[in-house]
Amino acid sequence: MKSGSNLEKVLTAGHFAFTGEVGPPRGANVEVIRKKAAFLKGNVDMANMTDNQTAMVRMSSWAGSMILLQEGVEPNYQMVCRDRNRIAMQSDVLGAYAHGIRNMLCLSGDHQQFGDHPNSKGVYDIDSVQLIGMVKKMRDEKTFLGGDKLDEAPEMFIGAAANPFGQPFEWRVHRLAKKVAAGADFIQTQCIFNMERMREWIHQANDMGLTEKVYILAGVTPMKSVGMAKYMKNNVPGMDVPDWIIKRLQGVDKKKAADEGIKIACEQIAEFKETKGVAGVHLMPIEWEHKVPEIAERAKMLPRPVV
């Protein structure tokens, strides 16, 4: 065991993992997180706590992760390279570990230009691939990036993101390979809608032997409406939403669109469960945490394994 986190235990025991996600509040409202956590508890193996996603200021992800811990939901502490230099990052990794956080996700971060402080100074002292390597070095070599020894290693289960869809497509699997080489233990993918591309990407990852070295959790986001599908297709960078999804949502009564979205998500999960190289699903229901119990049930992800 590298970290002894629940996610690591579930994956190493050979179970198909099921993880969730919580966005922290835009304020100091703890109840928001507690409420969201209640929907996730027992229904997922762990939940990501996002780090100022879309570059909008929110409660810090390590603080949000602590609240998840208190609520009995294992957190996956997200850390982006946008806001911190290597000194702050290493310091936060130690602090998070000291408080019982055992999973973390290393990300570049949405560019600050998207958010509510578009002219802030982006840090990007190191990039997400380098962040993976830095945490691994702290964990496995008990060494800071600068070379000094640290007294107790932060034994994190190291996660990274992958986008199987962006251009150049044939390069995407090589970027995954770089993250694996840097030391990623698990991967959570971008929301998957283009199943054909996903199949091809996983096929490439299998061929390169990557799926034997890293656990890949396929990202699934249920569409709530036709409007959401169109918005994600046209306005969210890195998203690849094929027309069949929009057509299928349009094909049902407006009131039934959300249900159809969940149906599509469940079909995706069922396929991923049978896909060689996919070790689990990362569910990202955007501001729809209360639907997680229903989705987990309908996707036959319950009960979650106790390991």
Binding site: S108, Q130, G133, G166, P168, R175, K178
Partner: protein
């Protein structure tokens, strides 16, 4: 070349409000070439200032380069006749003038914007952040520090759009997509297969440089 642009007129006016006798010094180097601080721009700004502030006496003078004291002889004679100097050089030039005449207030008329190239007449693009550790040989002549919005070394990030543009702007090509495509064309994709190590940033404190051949000369 250093690219600069003129500050808003109101800002320049505000800086000069306590002075009656000002010399506007143009620069024949980069800021002249990028059409921001040469003879023509000195004349234009002075005409505007004269019109707006009738009480102001403002003269203009252009020297070859404000970043080298070899070109300061004429200016040395003139400077003491004025109670303030306005410089139309880049930030480096403004500081060099200020360092030369410490008893006279020196004001910048320009904002220094970037180190770049001429895309067309009057149209410039940033191409270099002077990071001090050039990787262009590995990245097919495309700078990840300057052209990637996140300045990352193991790109492209997950934000690249499906059409290969940057997440920051639909009209900006993703630098790393371009790097990959050009390396592929040249049969050099192997350049970027390995994880690029964390950078030891060189540009975090003021740098000075003596070329190897001149080190003996400045040894003392």
């Amino acid at each position: 070349m250093i690219i600069a642009e003129r500050k808003p007129f109101e800002e320049i006016k505000e800086m000069l409000k306590s002075y009656n006798n000002v010399l506007n010094v143009g620069c024949g180097g980069c800021t002249s070439i990028c059409l921001a601080g040469g003879q023509k721009e000195v004349n234009k700004l002075n005409a505007e200032l004269t019109k707006e502030i009738p009480a102001l006496k403002i003269d203009g003078y252009v020297i070859e380069r404000q970043c080298n004291y070899d070109f300061f002889a004429d200016l040395d004679e003139k400077a003491s006749q004025y109670d303030a100097i306005l410089s139309m050089a880049c930030g480096a030039g403004v500081q060099f003038v200020a360092e030369r005449y410490t008893s006279i207030p020196v004001f910048p008329a320009l904002n220094t914007v970037f180190c770049g190239v001429d895309r067309n007449v009057g149209w410039f693009e940033e191409n270099c952040r002077t990071c001090g550790e050039c990787v262009l040989g590995e990245t097919a002549g495309i700078c990840p520090v300057t052209r990637c919005a996140k300045g990352i070394f193991n790109g492209p990030c997950g934000g690249t759009r499906i059409d290969g543009t940057c997440e920051v702007d639909k009209n900006t090509p993703c630098a790393w997509t371009d790097i990959y495509n050009r390396l592929k064309e040249q049969g050099r994709v192997s350049n970027i297969l390995d994880v690029k190590p964390i950078r030891l940033w060189q540009n975090q404190t003021r740098r000075s440089l003596i070329q190897e051949d001149y080190k003996a000369r400045y040894a003392e």
